[in-house]
């Protein structure tokens, strides 16, 4: 897949009613997400390239592509690493039979429970402290987690 192909894909997504498109080829995964700010990201792991297509500019084949290379995933616009406030065991649900607190893609509100972390029989229900969308869950239920370990990637609401 070359830059021309990616440009074509971007154009395709822009002109379509699609809000998201994932393509995987030769181990390179490209995910295009159309959002309010029209940030389109192109992600061959582990380095994250960001391709912005400002919607304000009339889209045409010659529309300038602004490319950013971000090594730190935290630097993605508005995306925050949600860190564990304590050492312990991570639980994705309040009890074994209950549904999980959050899934990837969920919109979360400030004050909404995201998980429980337990140590020495202290059960700490961790709440979101801002509104946003869960982009990634970085741990599995019953994993041992450290203080400050990233638990979620959350895109903060603008």
């Amino acid at each position: 897949m070359n830059l021309k192909d990616i440009e074509k894909l971007i154009k395709l997504v822009e002109d379509s009613g699609l809000s998201k498109l994932s393509v995987e080829e030769d181990g390179i995964k490209i995910e295009l997400i159309k959002e309010a700010q029209e940030v389109v990201s192109y992600q061959p792991a582990p380095v994250v390239h960001q391709v912005s297509v400002p919607q304000a500019v009339a889209p045409s084949a010659s529309a300038p592509l602004v490319a950013q290379v971000a090594v730190e995933p935290q630097n993605e616009a508005g995306v925050e690493m949600f860190l564990s406030p304590m050492v312990g065991t991570y639980y994705a649900q309040p009890s074994p039979e209950a549904p999980v607190f959050v899934k990837v893609g969920d919109k979360v509100k400030k004050g909404q429970s995201l998980c429980i972390i337990e140590a020495m029989k202290l059960f700490n229900e961790i709440e979101a402290d801002y509104n946003g969308t869960i982009m990634e869950i970085l741990v599995n239920s019953q994993d041992a987690v450290e203080f400050g370990q990233p638990l979620f990637k959350i895109k903060k609401d603008a």
């Binding site: 074994p96 337990e118 020495m120 029989k121 202290l122 059960f123 700490n124 994993d143």
Partner: protein, 240 residues
């Protein structure tokens, strides 16, 4: 004489004293105590039901609010309970981390719950102590249970509750200064697991080994294949 003035919220019947405190966290502060005669939705860890139909048992929650020294505080509370039982002439053991056993039967449980949002935390410490259980109630609980009434029939619930609360607040200054280190010796003497071969379920796997003691912060130290593992989370599922 009370060294600490605390406010008590008493309910003849409530869902769970911990849940009440967590729901009303904006109006409660460190030192407030919630007491109920009866809990209709009492629970232990993971919402496991804590049978609490009897009006003769102790159901109370001590509000810790934003108190910062909560790591291992359930172990401190278990020592407080063991001391209180001792004052009444009942010898107890502690099954790590915080179950109180008398004659190897569970007499009390502790559940600490915290809600954290950003850099703000609110904690509550719930205590359930069996004071009087009928044989039917003991069967209903499932795990082997004991109650204060099995050993002392002359104690009234109010005296037990008052003694627990007073003892908790009298000793929390010591907890704040010394943490688990201050109670470590006593905890080891009271431990029902020390030097025993146990199985702990933690992080989806089982650890089998001999309990050699506790760390300075209350983790249980287990010797498994000549290597010492400190466990801060898990459940003792088997004791040999």
């Amino acid at each position: 004489m009370n060294s600490f003035a605390y406010k008590i919220y008493y309910f003849p019947e409530i869902g769970s004293t911990n849940d009440y405190a967590l729901r009303n966290k904006d109006n409660l502060v460190f030192g407030d105590v919630i007491i109920a005669d009866k809990q209709t939705a009492g629970h232990g860890r993971f919402d496991r039901k804590w049978v609490s139909s009897s009006v003769d048992n102790v159901y109370l929650t001590i509000v810790l609010g934003d108190y910062p020294y909560v790591h291992g505080i359930s172990l401190f509370a278990s020592i407080v309970l063991a001391r209180v039982l001792g004052l009444f002439g009942i010898e107890s053991k502690i099954k790590w981390p915080n179950d109180i056993l008398v004659d190897n039967k569970k007499i009390a449980g502790i559940l600490v719950q915290t809600v954290t949002q950003g850099d703000k935390s609110f904690s509550v410490l719930g205590i359930g102590l069996n004071v009087s259980l009928s044989n039917e109630e003991k069967l209903e609980i499932g795990t082997e249970s004991a109650c204060v009434g099995d050993y002392r029939k002359d104690l009234c619930k109010k005296d037990i509750v008052d003694t627990i609360i007073k003892s908790f607040f009298d000793n929390i200054v010591e907890w704040r200064s010394n943490g688990f280190l201050g109670i470590k010796n006593e905890y080891e003497i009271k431990s029902s697991l020390i030097a025993k071969q146990i199985t702990v379920k933690c992080f989806q796997k089982e650890l089998v080994g001999k309990v050699i003691g506790f760390s300075n912060t209350g983790e249980i130290l287990i010797e498994e294949n000549n290597k010492i593992v400190a466990v801060n989370s898990g459940e003792v599922v088997k004791v040999l």
